[in-house]
């Protein structure tokens, strides 16, 4: 099953490599990983998406908790939660027709055009991974130059929270 796990860890150099190293050393899957400092600069928040049987995911959470730098961890999959990912896509827009069509697609997906040059647009889009997949699929007919995705982040709904 797919799990999304959020982790608060000490904002120490090397902390991220401990997480990444754990996954490669123990042969766990890692689909995406995002990390940034939190409002408390001594802490980083890391969100990762992994896949595995219940036993494997149980081991993953135990092994993550065992890392000395990990302060707290929440398997969001066990709670009602919201997931978001951001994508930016650069598309070549040769003529006026393409320009109009790309703008229309961006609108349908509630994306925004955030950069315009003489022959390219950059479209920004936020949503869950499935929505981003669908958008990328829908944009296939165009001349897509590059796509960058942030990886998933998530937060629990309601009272559940990951904080100290």
């Amino acid at each position: 099953m797919r799990h999304i796990i959020s982790i608060l860890m000490e904002n120490e150099s090397g902390a991220l490599s401990r997480v990444a190293g754990l996954f490669s050393a123990r042969g766990y899957n890692i689909e995406s990983l995002t990390v940034a400092p939190t409002e408390d600069p001594t802490l980083s928040r890391l969100t990762l998406v992994t896949r595995g049987s219940e036993e494997v995911v149980e081991q993953i959470t135990k092994q993550l908790n065992k890392l000395v730098d990990v302060v707290k961890l929440l398997d969001l999959t066990e709670h009602r939660h919201i997931e978001r990912e951001i994508a930016m896509m650069k598309v070549r827009v040769a003529g006026g027709e393409d320009r109009a069509e790309v703008m229309r697609m961006a609108e349908i997906f509630r994306g925004r055009i955030i950069d315009v040059s003489s022959d390219t647009y950059v479209v920004e889009l936020t949503g869950d991974s499935a929505k981003l997949d669908a958008f990328i699929e829908a944009m296939r007919p165009f001349d897509v130059v590059e796509v960058v995705r942030s990886g998933v982040m998530g937060i629990a709904r309601g009272d559940v929270a990951l904080r100290l």
């Binding site: 000490e10 150099s13 090397g14 490599s17 908790n65 000395v68």
Partner: protein
């Protein structure tokens, strides 16, 4: 034996000490020495080099912390491990950057696999050069990351004391393990005021100590329903100082008990309730009892594959209680029914209290039947060997050693057949006396481990049981043993083969003995003598006892005994890889 604390020659430095007392700020190197003093460290095992010269200088100028100079950094770590395993105090290592650190890695990995409390200090190039491929630079934190409990790179002298405090705290609490502290050279010259924290708390690290009361009650309920119970205890009991309580617990319940290779000595081997070691080379009775158990109590053991054999066939009828301080050890390889996270000592104490509060005891008839069954398995005499042989049987050497030392020696070992025979035939009645490499299985461990053990226990008998192949992996340490006049008894069971490899080739590769014959062996007697020790070569069964007596009587000499043993001997029983515990190869 020479006390390493007095090894630093004196004189010439007294003036500097006076100068330094006047300054309030200390250098990083001085802070380092002070921290070790505060931790009560009496011995550091190490080897100097450029990046740790300030530290060596600071150690030179004091005499509270002694230093043992080994001949290879791998041996420093193994020696520290021998010290730690035989005392339950953390082992301390100091090596230089680059090759010093990489040489230490095997030892660190070994300590990690066996959960040994240890702090390893590595020198590093100055902070300004880190990342420049500087002379003797390696990314020590990166290289050791997968085989340490935690590691640190100190980037500011102000962090040094706290980091050292954290390192000792992490190494010795929860599930013990090695912690590496990488110290760039400039940090050891920088100055700051010294303050050593009295205690340590970390928001990210709070190991569980006591077991959950509800789980303890559930466990006791299950224990009292058992009809065919087995206690399977491991290295955690030795590491956690739980052996007295384990013995009390086992006796109170009258349950049979088996120990892992790492757990030997936690329960007295001479006791009737002891079934011997379990696992790949465990006894028939221990493995059969495991296979037929209805309730299994695992205490400080981690269901290693050398123990379980094929997990699909493991303990098919048992409900399992598992006590372990590391939640990640629980239900990792085998799903358990009653997990108890906590230190063995408080958990056993709580279980005993709960048991005593209950009227009920396990069904007496069922237990009698179970013991009768176990005694039948025991009657197979699975450790039998040919006692009439004209060649020296390795088992006989160990039995004789056991008899002559009253079972009371500290025994270290290397890796191979000799290790298994030592485990099977030297019945350990006390914990912390059996010091071997279990998880990593590192040949070369035995001699340096004996050095650390002997230094921690001057006046006690320390014997290293080894093979002619293993001993050559750290043979240079004979020189260290001479420097400190360590009267270790080295028993080489010389079968001129990598016997354990040869045995697998005999059983599973139709006797194609690829590369397992040890040609061109040195003359060990001459070699020992060249190192300044006593050498003996023993070729006939009739000479074994006399030679051992003579060696044990030499209280102030290292004696290297080269026993020419039967090369065809195999370790029995054996659970082949992939088989169930009940599917043993017997003699």
């Amino acid at each position: 034996m020479i006390c390493p604390r007095q090894r630093f020659p004196r004189g010439g430095w007294i003036r500097c000490v006076h100068q330094e007392i006047e300054t309030v700020e200390l250098t990083g190197a001085e802070i380092f020495a002070r921290c070790l003093q505060e931790e009560g460290v009496d011995l550091v095992f190490g080897y100097p080099g450029g990046s740790v010269l300030h530290i060596y200088d600071a150690l030179f100028k004091q005499d509270q912390v002694g230093h043992v100079l080994v001949r290879h950094e791998q041996a420093a770590v193994h020696a520290a491990e021998g010290y730690a395993k035989s005392t339950n105090r953390p082992g301390v290592v100091l090596v230089t950057s680059g090759p010093g650190a990489t040489n230490a890695v095997t030892g660190i990995a070994n300590a990690y696999m066996d959960s040994v409390p240890m702090v390893v200090f590595t020198g590093q190039v100055p902070t300004s050069l880190i990342g420049n491929d500087a002379f003797q630079e390696v990314d020590t934190v990166g290289i050791t990351r997968p085989c340490v409990k935690h590691n640190f790179l100190v980037k500011d002298v102000k962090d040094l004391a706290v980091t050292i405090k954290k390192a000792f705290y992490l190494a010795t609490t929860g599930r013990p393990g090695p912690v590496v502290v990488d110290i760039p050279k400039d940090i050891t010259a920088d100055r700051c005021p010294f303050h050593y924290p009295k205690s340590m708390q970390m928001r990210s690290y709070n190991p569980t100590v006591k077991g959950h009361p509800g789980q303890i009650r559930r466990a006791v309920d299950l224990l009292l329903q058992a009809r065919q119970p087995v206690i399977y205890s491991g290295g955690g009991v030795v590491l956690g100082g739980g052996s007295k309580l384990l013995t009390e617990f086992t006796r109170l319940l009258n349950f049979p008990i088996t120990n892992t290779l790492m757990g030997l000595g936690a329960y007295p081997a001479s006791d009737r309730q002891f079934l011997g070691m379990l696992g790949m080379h465990g006894t028939y009775e221990a493995n059969m009892a495991m296979h037929h158990a209805d309730v299994l109590v695992a205490i400080g053991a981690r269901f290693d594959d050398r123990v379980t054999g094929n997990v699909a066939k493991f303990c098919p009828n048992a409900r399992i209680i598992h006590v372990d301080v590391d939640p990640a050890s629980i239900s990792k390889n085998v799903k358990v029914d009653v997990p108890i996270v906590g230190q063995v000592e408080p958990v056993l104490r709580a279980m005993l209290k709960e048991l005593r509060a209950r009227e009920r005891r396990p069904d007496a008839d069922a237990m009698e039947k179970w013991w009768k069954q176990i005694d039948e398995w025991r009657a197979m005499d699975c450790l039998k060997y040919d006692r009439e042989s004209e060649r020296i049987k390795p088992q006989a050497v160990i039995e004789t050693l056991h008899r002559l030392t009253g079972g009371d020696a500290f025994i270290t070992s290397d890796v191979g057949q000799h290790q298994m025979w030592a485990a099977q035939f030297y019945g350990f009645d006390k914990p912390n006396r059996w010091i071997n490499s279990g998880g990593l299985g590192t040949m070369g461990f035995g001699l340096p481990a004996a050095i650390g053990t002997q230094l921690a226990h001057p006046g006690e008998t320390v014997a290293c049981i080894t093979g002619e192949s293993s001993i050559q992996m750290c043979i240079q340490e004979l020189s260290t043993a001479l420097q400190y006049r360590l009267p270790i008894k080295v028993l080489t069971l010389n079968n001129s083969y990598m016997g354990m490899v040869r045995q697998w080739q005999e059983f599973f590769y139709q006797g194609r003995y690829a590369m397992s014959y040890m040609e061109a062996l040195p003359d060990f007697v001459q070699l020992a003598e060249a190192y300044g020790h006593v050498g003996m070569r023993i070729e006939r069964p009739g000479d074994v006892e006399g030679a051992l007596r003579e060696a044990l009587d030499m209280k102030d000499r290292l004696v290297f005994m080269d026993f020419i043993t039967d090369a065809d001997e195999n370790v029995y029983p054996m659970v082949p890889a992939g088989a169930g515990q009940n599917e043993m190869i017997l003699l």
